[in-house]
């Protein structure tokens, strides 16, 4: 379990009142955890603040809606954490 996943899981558990045991790296934020768009905004805010980044959610959604990317690439937690790590690394570069 990566530090990023641990931090994201903690945020989701607190913001969305989800039992931590139900959150795994394979969890889909929408299909498995039932996080709706409004709660996801709160999650995004907490992640942005925690990691000092700005997750490009609108661009991600647009790519998903246009069929350029599968939703799983952004919204399954291990993939989301990889995106966060990329954004943190890009910021540090």
């Amino acid at each position: 379990m990566t530090a990023t996943f641990k931090a994201v899981a903690d945020i989701i558990a607190e913001v969305c009142s989800i039992e931590p045991a139900k959150i795994s790296p394979a969890s889909h934020t929408i299909d498995d955890l039932g996080i709706d768009s409004l709660d996801f905004l709160d999650v995004a805010f907490a992640i942005d603040k925690k990691f000092g980044i700005k997750m490009p959610i609108e661009r991600w959604m647009q790519e998903v809606n246009e069929g350029k990317t599968a939703a799983e690439d952004y919204f399954v937690l291990n993939n989301l954490c990889s995106r966060i790590d990329e954004l943190v690394a890009a910021k540090a570069a």
């Binding site: 905004l41 709160d42 959610i57």
Partner: protein, 150 residues
């Protein structure tokens, strides 16, 4: 303030683009049917309208920062505190600043002051979307012009 038209802000006092902050004057009306019910013989401005005044001021700030290309919508209110009663004819200042600008959403820190004292405060989240039609965009631009937004 024009309660009947849900216009809670009267004029801009200061707009600081660099600090991403906005202060607006808001004059509570002397009388309103709202005060007749809230409460009979003890008129005070409803707390939800103080929160709305902070949300609208946040919205004007977001409109200006987005150069009137996106429309803000209230999405969440956190840590709201209503510290003092606000009476009819009160002269208020609503001060907001950007706490975080995310992708498609913004969080602002807001307070309402009366005579330099904070009477209400909150953290407000607004999501922003493209205007649903050009007419609404023009109307919002007109609202902003009315209060003296740049």
């Amino acid at each position: 303030m024009q309660f009947d038209y849900f216009q809670m802000v009267d004029r801009v006092e200061t707009f600081d683009l660099e600090a991403r902050s906005l202060r607006c004057h808001a004059q509570v009306p002397d009388s309103s049917t709202i005060f007749e019910g809230h409460f009979p013989g003890h008129p005070i401005m409803p707390g939800v309208l103080l929160i709305e005044s902070m949300a609208q001021t946040s919205g004007y700030l977001m409109l200006a920062l987005a150069q009137y290309e996106r429309m803000p919508f209230l999405a969440g209110v956190k840590d709201a505190k209503l510290r003092s009663f606000v009476r009819p004819a009160a002269s208020l200042v609503v001060a907001v600043s950007i706490e975080h600008e995310g992708s498609g959403y913004t969080v602002t820190r807001c307070r309402v002051e009366q005579g330099g004292k904070t009477v209400a405060e909150a953290s407000i989240m607004l999501r922003s979307l493209p205007f649903p039609n050009p007419e609404l965009k023009a109307t919002l631009r007109g609202f902003a012009d009315r209060i003296g937004m740049p």
